[in-house]
């Protein structure tokens, strides 16, 4: 007997979680299976919709206005602007700790390298750091943390022309953490607010952190830290440190392992759990049965192949980074259902000579019809009950456009909703 559900979503990243959530909201019996840790831990945790056009125009103030002019192959064009907005609403309901829904205008956020980037939604923890906010800013780095050199980030931010003064200072983090402590160690210490020794006196960690920063603060009205301020209680930590300093505190999103990305993943998994979906993580889908329709898929668990069957399937396994799209010297392929991935025959046509050139590989993924069903080489749908969502989709370069999260959320929403409607 196979494990049965109405909608089976494969993939636990932003696309998969959103499709499962959308399908559950439609009242379907949903099951989500995911294999490895999602790529959210690699991502900044910011939710971009569209920052630049494929021609490089931008930063765009309003992402929705630009969508109708995107190329037809773009996933946004498959689902349409209204769906993008509806999908963002679903996201806003599921993750109330994010901001940006008060306006259609993009926000500009400082990055940990010192640039700024356009984004549509941002965690509350980043909101005091908006680059269009004119308050003077102090950035605080940690001596041992090589990913965030505050004086360098501040100087780079200044070079982008931000409308405020910004300075960087470096402190020694309170408590005796190892030189190569992981970001989660800093977060844990602040979460538990354990006492640490400061000049021979025991002080709770949040207060100790503020004490380190206090003498460095001049007239700045806000203070930014790398995104290490807690995993479980970030709001309380920001409040406590901010109260001690008498300023607003914010986090600058970081590269992997990214706490904002992990917090977002947690929030979406909780929302999905609340919506009543069944969730299985840690085991890969390795095989399937079916010709025109997928009958069942097999999940490998401790060496056994467990059949899972559903009426409708959503493929949300990611792109090259998440391994939903793979390649070898001979070509590019989708590894589970072997869906067609259009690509140039000659490997040397996959990329450009410049680092930030117009790389074809960045747009590789499955092509779909307007119902998000993957198409084979002759443009017929591969399977009548399979839809694709997120980075497994081709036809757009999320990195250049800053559109990754938006496409995942919009196509996940559309695929999940339609799968649920069809399963009923």
């Amino acid at each position: 007997m196979a494990i049965e559900s109405e909608v089976l979503v494969i993939g636990g990243g932003l696309g998969g979680l959103t499709s499962a959530l959308a399908a559950a909201h439609e009242g379907a019996d949903v099951r989500l299976v995911s294999y490895k840790q999602s790529t959210l831990r690699q991502a900044s945790g910011l939710v971009d919709v569209l920052g630049y056009t494929p021609d490089g125009d931008g930063p765009l103030t309003n992402p929705y206005e630009a969508i109708p002019s995107l190329p037809e192959s773009h996933p946004y064009r498959k689902v349409g602007v209204k769906t993008v907005r509806d999908a963002l609403s679903l996201f806003d309901d599921a993750v109330p700790t994010y901001e940006g829904e008060h306006t259609e205008t993009n926000a500009l956020l400082p990055t940990h390298g010192g640039s700024i980037k356009p984004t549509a939604r941002y965690p509350a923890g980043a909101s005091a750091g908006l680059a269009s906010d004119t308050r003077d800013t102090l950035l605080v780095g940690i001596e041992e943390m090589v990913d965030f050199d505050a004086p360098h980030v501040a100087a780079h931010l200044d070079a982008t022309g931000v409308p405020f003064d910004v300075r960087g200072e470096t402190i020694r983090f309170p408590g005796d953490l190892r030189a190569d402590a992981k970001v989660t160690r800093y977060a844990k210490l602040l979460d538990t607010n354990s006492e640490v020794a400061v000049r021979g006196r025991m002080v709770p960690a949040r207060e100790a952190l503020a004490q380190r920063v206090n003498p460095l603060l001049e007239d700045e009205e806000r203070v930014g830290f790398p995104a290490i301020l807690g995993d479980d209680n970030p709001g309380a930590i920001r409040d406590a440190v901010g109260d001690h300093l008498g300023v607003d505190v914010f986090e600058v999103p970081m590269g992997p392992p990214s706490l904002p990305g992990l917090r977002l993943e947690d929030a979406l998994f909780s929302a999905l759990d609340e919506a009543g979906a069944s969730i299985e993580t840690g085991n890969p889908v390795v095989d399937f049965e079916g010709e025109d329709r997928i009958e069942k898929v097999f999940i490998e668990k401790n060496g056994a192949k467990i059949p899972n069957s559903a009426d409708q399937y959503v493929l949300a396994t990611g792109g090259f980074v998440g391994k939903g799209v793979e390649s070898d010297r001979d070509g590019v392929y989708e590894p589970i259902f072997d869906c067609h991935v259009p690509h140039a025959e000659d490997r040397y046509d996959w990329f450009e000579g410049e680092l930030f050139g117009d790389h074809e590989f960045a747009r590789y993924g499955v092509a779909t019809d307007d119902d998000l069903r993957p198409l084979d080489a002759s443009e017929h749908s591969e399977f009548e009950n399979l839809r694709a969502a997120g980075s497994v989709l081709g036809g757009y370069d999320f990195a250049a456009e800053k559109s990754g999260s938006g496409v995942s959320i919009a196509t996940g929403y559309a695929a999940g909703q339609r799968a649920a409607q069809e399963a009923r």
Binding site: S44, H152, D232, G235, R347, F356
Partner: protein
């Protein structure tokens, strides 16, 4: 004796740096100029094999004998650059038994310790060797880090008073009254350490003698004085694997051929190579089939290479030279011997000698002979000491053992740092502040990066070759911004940004030849980290001004509440 002669050495590869060290140690005034970084040309683009001589034991016994001699010298004077991996010449069933025997006796004739091992024994040493390897000859091949070696030679030359100018291109030879009397150069960013964004300038460097040690570029320098130096550049591809499939150098035991060697190197293994004549040492095709051939041919020796991950490929050009009357058609026929072209004797133009041909393993011996030649010009009778005096970093390698004890260096990072630095470990690693790891793939710490910056200015590629930072699996995806930040304490942000871009682009260049499978996934991740997370592709600091007021100023400001009175977050559910 009159005043100390001033020698201008052109070329910062192994030979040029070796000559600069040798002459400086003999008390001469030396200025070395290099158009790029040290090792920019051929030296930085080789597979890092320290020849035992086995490779030449059949075809060129004179070279083979030189190799084993110099192999022993370098183990001694450059121990922190050498890993004595040992090497195997392996024979497949289709390879000739006669050649195998010739190789064996050739090694014996050249004084190269060689021993026959059975196929089973060879596989016991190297479990990933193909099951049908018949047998092998074991020889003392090793791996050597050409970057570290050249940097150490240059450092030693500097300690003896030499001036080293990188990123300095020779634009002309100064010829007066039928004699070369100096060089005209263009500094990329002013003399001294390279600093991005600073203006360069031209300089006339007058010299009593000029040594042209530019290898494949020797003809270019010759042209400047109307000299005809017929170097025949020959390209070869090398493909870097992300792990060491073997810990021993694996050579195929057959006469010359493409794709017949695998050299383990630090955390990687390097597959090599091809041999194809090209017109221009700087501009030649780098093609997919060459990379594919490396993998498809060498998998006959090590089958797992078929599925293994490559992290990049690079091409180098050999500075082959043959005297005008030989006329070989095939570059593999051209001797690997070196030639000293005294332009006074050869072309009636006194004041300059060119050195062409030769092999990396014998760079020191070549340097000695050139230095003897130069000293002879001035009647200087000074002994060469380069075979006896260890290079900086290799003075006292017991330091490695001391460090293990003193700092309890169980950590593979500390251990690798000390191995790289050799006897300089103490001076570099004893810092006041914390010393976090900047490059995780290669285990490079802040102290090493800072030491390299001190040596090479704002040039992150120079930092890279000194430390190996950004040369591992991620090819700089996770560490390039960290390396850039390390510059910031000393250099302005715009200088840092330029150096950072340059490093990223250099790392991308070689990776392009490895973009399938795991490395394409890595490239996609790196691209996402740089473009999505950091927006480095559209960085407003490099582009048009942004109208900040047109963007979201935040929920509180949008709703008209004074932001100063509002907590930074909504305060709900713990976020």
């Amino acid at each position: 004796m009159g005043p100390t002669p001033h020698i201008a050495v052109i070329g910062g590869g192994s030979t040029g740096a070796g000559i600069a060290r040798d002459l400086a140690m003999r008390g001469l005034d030396v200025t070395l100029v290099e158009q790029g970084n040290l090792t920019h040309g051929t030296t930085g683009r080789m597979h890092g094999l320290l020849h035992s001589g086995g490779r030449y034991a059949v075809s060129d016994q004179a070279s083979a004998t030189e190799c084993i001699e110099e192999n022993r010298v370098l183990r001694d004077i450059a121990s922190h650059c050498v890993e004595m991996t040992g090497g195997l010449f392996v024979k497949r069933p289709e390879d000739s038994e006669e050649y195998f025997q010739k190789k064996l006796s050739g090694c014996e004739e050249c004084g190269i310790p060689a021993e026959v091992v059975s196929g089973e024994e060879a596989r016991a040493m190297e479990p990933h060797l193909a099951k049908d390897i018949d047998k092998a000859i074991s020889v003392p091949d090793g791996a050597i880090d050409p970057f570290r070696l050249v940097v150490a030679n240059a450092a030693s030359a500097q300690e003896h008073g030499a001036r080293i100018e990188t990123h300095t291109k020779v634009t002309d030879l100064i010829v007066e009254s039928g004699e070369v009397v100096g060089i005209e150069v263009e500094h990329d960013s002013g003399p001294g350490k390279r600093v991005h964004g600073t203006e360069g300038g031209t300089e006339q460097i007058r010299a009593d003698y000029v040594v042209n040690a530019t290898g494949a570029w020797a003809g270019r320098i010759g042209d400047m004085a109307g000299l005809d130096i017929e170097v025949r550049p020959s390209k070869g591809v090398m493909t870097i694997m992300n792990i060491r499939q073997v810990d021993t150098v694996i050579n195929r035991c057959r006469p010359k051929g493409d794709a017949d060697i695998v050299v383990p190197h630090e955390t990687t293994a390097i597959l090599g190579t091809t041999d194809e004549e090209v017109e221009d040492p700087e501009d030649y095709p780098e093609e997919q089939w060459e990379v594919d051939m490396m993998i498809d041919t060498l998998k006959e020796l090590i089958p797992m290479l078929e599925e293994a991950r490559t992290i990049r490929s690079f091409w180098g050009v050999r500075p082959l030279y043959e005297p005008p009357d030989v006329g070989s058609d095939d570059p593999t026929d051209i001797t690997r011997d070196f030639f000293l072209l005294d332009h006074d004797e050869r072309d009636d133009l006194p004041g300059m000698t060119s050195i062409v041909g030769g092999k990396f393993t014998t760079y020191r011996m070549m340097s000695e002979q050139i230095s003897d030649h130069v000293c002879g010009k001035f009647g200087i009778d000074a002994d060469c000491r380069t075979a006896d005096v260890p290079l900086p970093g290799s003075e006292d390698f017991s330091v490695l053992r001391d460090y293990m004890d003193e700092f309890g260096l169980r950590s593979p990072i500390g251990r690798r740092s000390v191995e790289r630095l050799g006897s300089r470990a103490d001076e570099v690693l004893k810092t006041d502040g914390p010393n976090p790891t900047v490059c995780e793939c290669e285990g490079v710490t802040r102290a090493e990066i800072q030491d390299a910056i001190e040596g090479s200015g704002s040039d992150l590629n120079a930092v890279r070759i000194r430390t190996r930072a950004s040369m591992g699996n991620c090819q700089g995806g996770f560490c390039s911004h960290r390396m850039a930040s390390e510059l910031h304490s000393e250099y302005d942000e715009s200088v840092v940004r330029e150096a950072w871009d340059e490093l990223l682009q250099e790392r991308w260049k070689g990776q392009r030849h490895a973009l399938w499978g795991e490395q394409l996934s890595q490239a996609a991740l790196n691209y996402a980290l740089h473009a999505t997370t950091q927006n480095r592709d559209q960085d407003p600091a490099d582009g048009d001004p942004v109208d900040f007021s047109a963007f979201d100023t935040g929920r509180s400001q949008a709703s008209g509440v004074d932001s100063a009175d509002v907590a930074a977050d909504g305060g709900t559910d713990g976020y």
